[in-house]
């Protein structure tokens, strides 16, 4: 069992990196990279909290994180398909130029 402080710091840093990427980036692919980093932060924290019992393993968090990983993969796949379609139509990934998507 490793000290949870390491994982707390890593999770917080990953979360902030993902948040920064979502806030300041304009490239659609980079936004998806930020979303994936956010997913990784949540999953890491969940698994880290579940391994805090010395010598014991709890199968519930691991199974939930496994399901979350599959769903995260589908989210990213659909997002990338959307990005490909956007690039085909507008020839750019810049979200500031995609004003035509407004109502």
């Amino acid at each position: 069992m490793y000290p949870i402080t390491f994982f707390i710091v890593t999770t917080a840093l990953l979360f902030v990196f993902g948040l920064v990427a979502l806030t300041i980036k304009r490239d659609l692919v980079r936004l998806l990279i930020g979303i994936e980093i956010l997913f990784n932060a949540a999953n890491l924290f969940f698994v880290a909290l579940s391994t805090q019992h010395v010598g014991m393993i709890d199968p519930l968090p691991q199974s939930i994180v496994m399901m979350a990983l599959v769903l995260d993969g589908t989210v990213i796949a659909v997002g990338l398909a959307l990005a490909l379609n956007v690039f085909k139509h507008y020839k750019t990934f810049d979200i500031r130029k995609l004003r035509r998507l407004k109502w």
Binding site: G18, K25, D27, V29, V47, M56, S63, N85
Partner: protein
Amino acid sequence: MIEILFILSLVVVSALLAVTSRNIVFAVIALLTTNISLGVAYFMMGAPTVALFQLAIFAGAVVVFFVITVMLTTGGDVEFDDDSVPWINKTTQLVLAAASVLVLLGVSLTREIAFPYLEYASSALETLMFAPTNYDDITTAVSQFLWQHRGFDLVSQSFVVLAAVICCIALLKIRRDHE
């Protein structure tokens, strides 16, 4: 102890590179490094099935999707010229700083106060926890738990994945029609 520190610092540094790198190909490679080192960290923490899924899905399939998207579109062009931090306005900077402070505070507070998950795990699910002797025990227990206690979730998840596949096919089909 030092090995998990090394792996976690590799995770943080590569995630930082994935966010800050101006070339999108380097960003994807940094993301691949993040995912692989996270898989190794899961394995060291005693979660081999999660590590397997992380390596297969995040470090495998998702990174391949990213590479294919980059190859079919910009092909590794450098980021937009004016895409640097100063273009964001003061409000965004304030919101970002406040959110970062809140995340750091919230995550560090989980150590001080009784986090609900820990109580839940220590009381209600005491009987489901077990002491493994090797990695085979963990993989067997997790797969048994999935099918016995989370069967409905698994079936629902398969429908979600099916919907996502149909969605991707529809999106790419529209693209081909326009050609």
